[in-house]
Symmetry: D2
């Protein structure tokens, strides 16, 4: 919108705040998605091959938590640096075409569309589970899944079974919508505290600086991120280290001490 000049007012990209992205996307979606999958299906995560599409903050949360419950995780990425990170973090990395026949559970978290599609559904194992934890209901191509299926029924609350023409069954959770919101309570409350703080303080900042700000994306000032994190730490009774005057001076200068 910025590039096209479509923003008529100053806007803060609250999702880019560190206190939003690092916590809400990673730990919030991570925990609530896994909880949703476990309670919707009553299946064991341990031992399941879990394919995570997207290794942004959301995908990382999913991958680490799935491993924490004993899954073997395959990461699918388009960005080569993120792919190398996923490898070094101990995950297998491959294309979706390669991962399709291996996965017991597929979790999408790319922020894009048409991630799991016809060509993948056709190669999946009997009984594979499909769930979306990304931003939209478009990551799993549900219309294509419907076309492939000769039968569709709800086998458990929030679990739709599609019987493909060859008899293979795929289980779609929450109809491809955000599984952590549909089949669970969404993010844990402590996470929403952070996210809502970002939003409230961003609006407050916009209101306060209405006169100076120009239309377009305004970065969230670092102090807001810091203030939110500091308040949370105080509530938890956690003490930060303080920078000494000597350290301060050292960090300001490029000269050898």
């Amino acid at each position: 919108m910025q590039r096209e000049g479509a923003l008529k007012i100053p806007v803060i990209a609250a999702n880019n705040a560190r206190c939003k992205q690092l916590f809400d996307n990673r730990y919030g979606t991570g925990q609530s998605t896994l909880t949703a999958v476990m309670s919707a299906t009553n299946l064991l995560i341990a031992g399941k091959t879990t394919v995570v599409a997207g290794y942004g903050w959301t995908g990382r949360g999913l991958a680490f938590y799935a491993r924490g419950f004993g899954a073997r995780v395959i990461v699918v990425e388009v960005d080569p640096v993120k792919a190398l990170e996923a490898l070094a973090d101990g995950f297998a990395v491959m294309s979706l075409a390669e991962a399709a026949p291996l996965g017991d559970l597929f979790l999408t978290a790319t922020g894009s569309i048409g991630v799991l599609r016809r060509e993948h559904f056709q190669r999946m194992k009997d009984g594979a589970l499909l769930a979306n934890a990304g931003n939209y209901a478009h990551e799993i191509d549900v219309p294509a899944l419907r076309q492939l299926a000769r039968e569709e029924r709800e086998v458990r609350r929030h679990v739709t079974e599609y019987v493909l023409r060859d008899g293979h069954r795929l289980h779609l959770l929450a109809q491809g919508a955000l599984v952590n919101i549909v089949a669970s309570d969404g993010h844990p409350v402590e996470i929403m505290d952070l996210s809502f703080s970002v939003q409230a303080l961003a609006v407050h900042y916009l209101a306060q600086h209405a006169d100076e700000l120009k239309p377009g994306v305004v970065p969230l000032p670092d102090e807001i991120d810091f203030a939110i994190a500091r308040t949370r730490l105080e509530l938890l009774g956690v003490r930060l280290e303080k920078t000494t005057a000597e350290q301060e001076a050292y960090q300001q200068s490029w000269r050898e001490p």
Copy 2:
């Protein structure tokens, strides 16, 4: 019962089967308890100090899964060897008296009674969560908690808040009964497949050998454990390594090859 001669019939201690204990107690209770806590409370596990009382198979499952979701885990044990193992597994180990003021979440899995008691409740943090994953509803001394409280109310489904006289609030899950059964669906189905197989084949074995067996505890024959595990692996398409004749011979003998 055996010691006192109270067993009048042959009995198999199905809970001691490897296919029961290693899976049901560890992974089954582990996953379902954490899922129950997360969905009953909608709180974030990451960053919470979680106290696990008991480091048997159940406690191990709880400790590893809680860490897998980002908790810091304190283990409480009476057995010194298990305590050393918990330490080497990366957990803090201490007495309950020491852990009481530190925990955000307490999980009992000792198989004993009166584990969390008056003296501990009085030292806990405001807002601490208490849940039982052990064998009985006696691990958390609920009558003592009631006596200490000046107020009791259900604040969320399966969560009872006790306001102590000093204003501190403790949150008891599932009234101290098995939290994974009351506030969730119990063990994942794949786990029950194993446990029920143990039970069914144990009964089958007792019936088949009724004539030979004497009253008392009969050990589950290894072959039953192996047969169950082998069947599951086959279903999963997992291939075991086979012992070679040379290896077989080597393992049978104590002589240098």
Copy 3:
């Protein structure tokens, strides 16, 4: 030896002591083997596919520590229950024939012989690393490797390169002997404290009870294991929980409380 009546004196199987097996085999061999591999090769463990043959206490230590440094781990087992455990612990499980072409690093810990053999060497990737952490130098069939090779040279201290006839190179560490002893300092000292305590107290026990004991394998009395663990915990300042009189009574009885 016991079965064949070859034991002429009372013997304690010190390796079966909990304070030996759970610590020395698991954490001691685990840490020292990984350290040896890392320092002998100067290669990154993160992202490497590591094949662990054997999922006894030693293999578990290797598997968990390799994962702790970012490896993807494949476990090879002959015991179906252990194989299921490895799966539930989040590892891939397969036969060596399947794992041979996948592994970057092979670690043997079976206590048996001829584990990695001709048929596996021939299918391994160029550059694969082979190391033994088991009980003997017989787990990797070095003579077979030599026969397959058209060239052999030391490429780094403790690393021998074998160039197979097809040009593939395999790297054998410590000539197939125990890699943690040859290429590193062996177990950390705290581990040896435990193991030597077991051995010393086992000898002491044998001496004290020389008159009563018959030839054959004598189990290490639990009290010795407990005493060693308790001493270590005291030195570390770690406090055990104490069983209450009420709990003691409960655990002694099979009657409902």
Copy 4:
């Protein structure tokens, strides 16, 4: 230097490259530092309380790998958002004053100076280990440590023991210099491949664009990071997912699909 106009030529901050920072700082320093500590001391990491000062990329590597070997990790930070992340990643967070009496092993990775100082040394446990994995030899205040000590001797290669006046002993590794370079081989070679690629291609870029670039810090072009990562993935035989035309279009536009 840029701020003060002290840069007379165009300069690329190679350390900020994703292929440098995410791998070299995190996994490279992580693995080689832990290896150095283990081989210099022959001590067990499992069960040790490890204090990591700084939760940048280096500190994260140290914290995750230390936990991977069974340590309990305490993170010390000045940045409140990083402190919250460390908490959610499952680590304890506190000030150095609080951590000083708790740590068995201290690892500095702040990039600053005077991190471990007199006031901390005085509160440390007998036998505590001190090692630096940060950028300079100034993170541990060695002169202050010398002043406090009544005795100094090398107890093992790369390990200097300081006996404080009260009899407490502190063990400094590698004299406070970079422990992974002094007491081990430095980064694994695969990591150096990435880092040297960044440096070589950065120099190549500067040379190619010498005419257009102005004095000051020039960002490393994304394509260089991508090209390096892509080459590595190809060598490893790892396949990236490809963005479809439909996805490309979706990501370019802010309009609902």
